[in-house]
Symmetry: D2
Subunit: 344 residues, 4 copies
């Protein structure tokens, strides 16, 4: 059985496990005050071309979104997001749990369009009743989006421009950041993101780590006493080394980018397979997640040899299925998928 | 430099790292729905002598306290704790963040005395204004306490009896549970705890894991849709395997108890050293944390070779220092401590 | 200057002020434990044909929504509402402040359609990822809606049926309940609402009171220790008599219905005026709020003699304006409006 | 039956009811944007000798505390209060509901002593683990305290000095402010309070209003978009006039001070009665609340003619009882009390 169920089905990149073993008996201070966290932060800042950034490590994506958003919003503010945004739908209300509303606006293939954002913000500030409403206090986007799509450099610059005009921070959820950056259709570099966003995170969980996300605050955006805000939300890891060592490894000799590139190469092979076997796309994305339509016959054929994710019902006969590659996808797995699809 | 700074200064027990490596490339479902989580749960239930319990894995102690307490309290309730309780002092207000008050009552060497609890609850229900007050909706104790002290079986039974009388759950924070169970002065077994408490957790972070705590709900006390409550608080790990594999290893062939026993043996050796070198105790505990008074001379002597934790100022000349052993403490480290103390 | 700005521009019905004066020096217990609250509750239960209901008084609409919703939802739940619902838009995120999401679904003229609700709930329970999502734990509707529209008895019964099928309470926000019940197009009675909804409130602020809303819990739906939940949200009035006396007066000799009927009669006269003077309707409602389109010329003509509410921009030349009648609207005011509109 | 049960047992001062009647049919904008709120604010600023202050009206004391504290604290902060503070004990956890801890420290007769506060803050900033703790972000005191005691000008200045040293605001809960200011032992003026505190409120509910508290922010301390923060907590009154007219009346021709003075005169008469009849004091306060010890015989004698508040059990034979005077206490009521006590 091969699996394209998600990009977090395997453990960690072997080099990470190796480093965890090598450093295992060193006595290190807790809560992130250790040399590996320090080193990882330096490497990340360098990779971002942003020596003044501040970096903090958290354990998972929903946690990161909740902590960052809640600690940055003011009392009277909420966060603007696409209606399909991860925080809008699949985080069990973690932002609302912090007492703040997610202000949902329409999306296009998972993306927040600059024009929609502008319209929303203009309408808000034109509304005479706005003091009775939740103020838009931050803009959340995901990159790649939940549909695997990407913002172009121009689009990101437009969003950033609007945010600056309205003086609210732009926050980019990079749970799958590497897969976006290594996409063949991408025109953004990490340094562009660091320059255009006020805060973003570099996802580790889905790109080779056991767990862990690295938040990057640019332009002095890190809230004061952020460690206490993290602790208050139960998000401070006692053995901070677990996160430090992982990110230090990922950002040594470009491992993060190398394994991301591999996932993209596998995704491109997978797309070829779907094209060749005439599996219709629901959404052919430029990153590691592909959304295709599967009829009964194909589902049956796949069921015994290939795992994937049920996304939603499409019509009576078909479902939308998600196939994800990752840093650990092997060429044989793609071949297995082709074999099954060709055989039906 | 040897370190007794805390019990989370080293990585994981080597057998854990080995298991993580061995299972690393297996494709497993996320969010705890994998065979290792399943197996770990079964082993824990067996160790607790409690086949009907429900077990859930979380990442750290503060997170566990916040998630368990917040999801079990009713809207109008707070949690009763000793004024020295970890949730009262050192969790940055994580319980209050959930909208619930910690009702602090006096302690004795870190322990909540049954008589104090009874008095508090009686007074609450005798108060005519109680509807304007926070209802006591749960009792929180830590075992061992923040001072390394232990409840006897009789004391725990008394606390449990009072909780049952007032129909509120008893919750035991077992961040260092193994060190309590293996203490030479302990008369409680894991099964007693499972029988007397409505919910408790078995700490992993401080006893050989990289991270992770196992919550045990007895008597059907697990809140409905607990996974969603966990997710809502950013506490659901995507790669649940990281927790499952660790606890599965710790509860295979009694590893958890074996390494806890080692830490206690080391602590006993350490206490001997303090006695022999006439270092006065602030609190000589039966578990892995020892609190001693250090004067200037001894601090100076230690400063270059032995690390410990500053606890608080005692008087002009002295401080209270905490020395902790752990599963990874080595005999040589105790010898080093003795050497330094004898030399001054 | 006459004003149709809103239905809370004047003070209280004179009979209320009179009763406040008459009872002013009586010594009464605080927090709602007085004879007037008691009497008002009895009268309301009788008017609802629901002797087993429980009634509680709160001060304003947003407060009532927040307290009722937050104290009834379970930890993992949110409240379903039309995207135009008052709680979705104009309460500054008061529901989210309680840690719960408002699950917004499309509306039709401000109404939540039974079919949309059913579709939403079916889709939720069909979603394999639902444990990562906010559970729909209550349905919120307003009657009349924010657009002055009404649910028919049949529609309300359908919504109630769906809620019962999914075992979640149906909550009706009756900020303007009287104006709905007295509408010429209404086919619902107060007893129907009490029978079909699990909880609802009878608005006082907009119908003759200085402040105050009466929450009616039917079928044992009142949360335990509700008074403490109210207090916890800063919503418990020390001089509960202020609410009790007002509602006691409003429900004596049908005053509430009488003054609501008057507002409707005035609204019907107003609609005639708009028809006669050919002011186009944006939404001609069956209750006390009318939404019309005003061009520049008419706005200018009105500006010096008649106040109304700016609702939103319609197109370059026109705005949507809201005109509201209330218990205190006078016939002369309608005549003044006609005079101005006829003159332009 | 006469009643000294509390200072909110009667309605409003007659002049307030009269003004409500006189203005009843005026059409006024909602939410505090009316001329009476404006006028009341001006009068209050003048009475405070603080033309730059900002004033906001809220409905009740717990609400005011919760809104002010929650909107002023930073994410990582809590509020320091005496363990007997109203927010610590009798507000059902309203501050904690906002996600912030009340940091309780010992009291002396209900007062927070400057030395205790200093010690607490010094210890906090000396603690190496403080980043894991709740930062003290505001100091809350009540004046008069819950025991009717008062801070001297010197004590208040000391508290203010400490707050300034640590750069945290000092907040004074003036639910019974008038009774403090008019106390014969008081040496503080309203202008002193406005000068020494960063924010405080002038209580209306207990001093002649039906409801209402006036928050005074000095030195630019009002949080931005405070109205939205108020709305978000369900605390914004639609008919803001109800609060504006009441405070406008109370601050016209010194009514607030005149009626407060009356309550103090009545309290002094009451204290004489207790002295003359040899009723022992538990705490003889300089304000309108007196705490005495009542044995069985006296309780029986009082039970049919005089109401008071049970405070707590003192010993087997005695209880602590609270007797409160107010703006509406009549001389005959004091005489009645004397008659009963003399007769037993």
């Amino acid at each position: 059985m091969v699996s394209f169920e998600s990009d977090y089905i395997t453990g960690a990149h072997p080099r990470i496990l190796q480093r965890l073993s090598e450093t295992n008996l060193e006595c290190l201070s807790g809560y992130g005050a250790d040399r590996y966290c320090e080193s990882a932060k330096e490497k990340i800042k360098k990779a971002c071309g942003c020596p003044d950034a501040e970096v903090a490590f958290l354990t998972g994506g929903t946690q990161t979104n909740a902590v960052v958003i809640a600690s940055m919003l003011k009392d009277y503010e909420g966060v603007v997001a696409a209606a399909t945004g991860h925080i809008s739908v699949h985080e069990a209300g973690a932002v609302e749990y912090s007492g703040h509303k997610v202000l949902e606006i329409p999306h296009k293939e998972g993306k927040l369009e600059p024009a929609s954002l502008k319209r929303y913000l203009d309408a808000f500030y034109a509304d005479e009743n706005r003091e009775h409403m939740v103020f838009p206090g931050m803009v959340y986007i995901s990159y790649p989006t939940e549909y695997g799509t990407l913002y172009t450099k121009d689009e990101l610059a437009q969003l950033a421009g609007i945010c600056r005009q309205f003086q609210i921070p732009l926050y980019l959820d990079g749970a799958r950041l590497g897969y976006g950056l290594m996409s063949l259709q991408n025109d953004l570099e990490l340094a562009d993101i660091a320059k255009l966003c006020d805060v973003f995170y570099i996802g580790g969980t889905k790109i080779g780590a056991l767990c862990g996300e690295a938040v990057v605050f640019t332009g002095g955006s890190q809230p004061r006493h952020f460690l206490t805000s993290v602790k208050k939300r139960g998000a401070l890891l006692a053995k901070g080394r677990l996160l430090g060592i992982q990110f230090d490894t990922l950002f040594t000799n470009g491992l993060y980018f190398e394994i991301s590139r591999h996932a993209i190469a596998m995704a491109e092979r997978m797309k070829d397979v779907f094209h060749q076997t005439k599996v219709p796309f629901y959404l052919e994305s430029p990153t590691n997640q592909q959304f295709v339509l599967l009829d009964q016959r194909r589902r049956k054929a796949l069921s015994e040899r290939v795992r994937f994710s049920f996304w939603e019902k499409y019509d009576e006969g078909c479902i939308v299925a998600r196939f994800a590659t990752s840093w650990s996808t092997k060429e044989e797995e793609i071949l297995e998928l082709r074999e099954v699809l060709e055989g039906c």
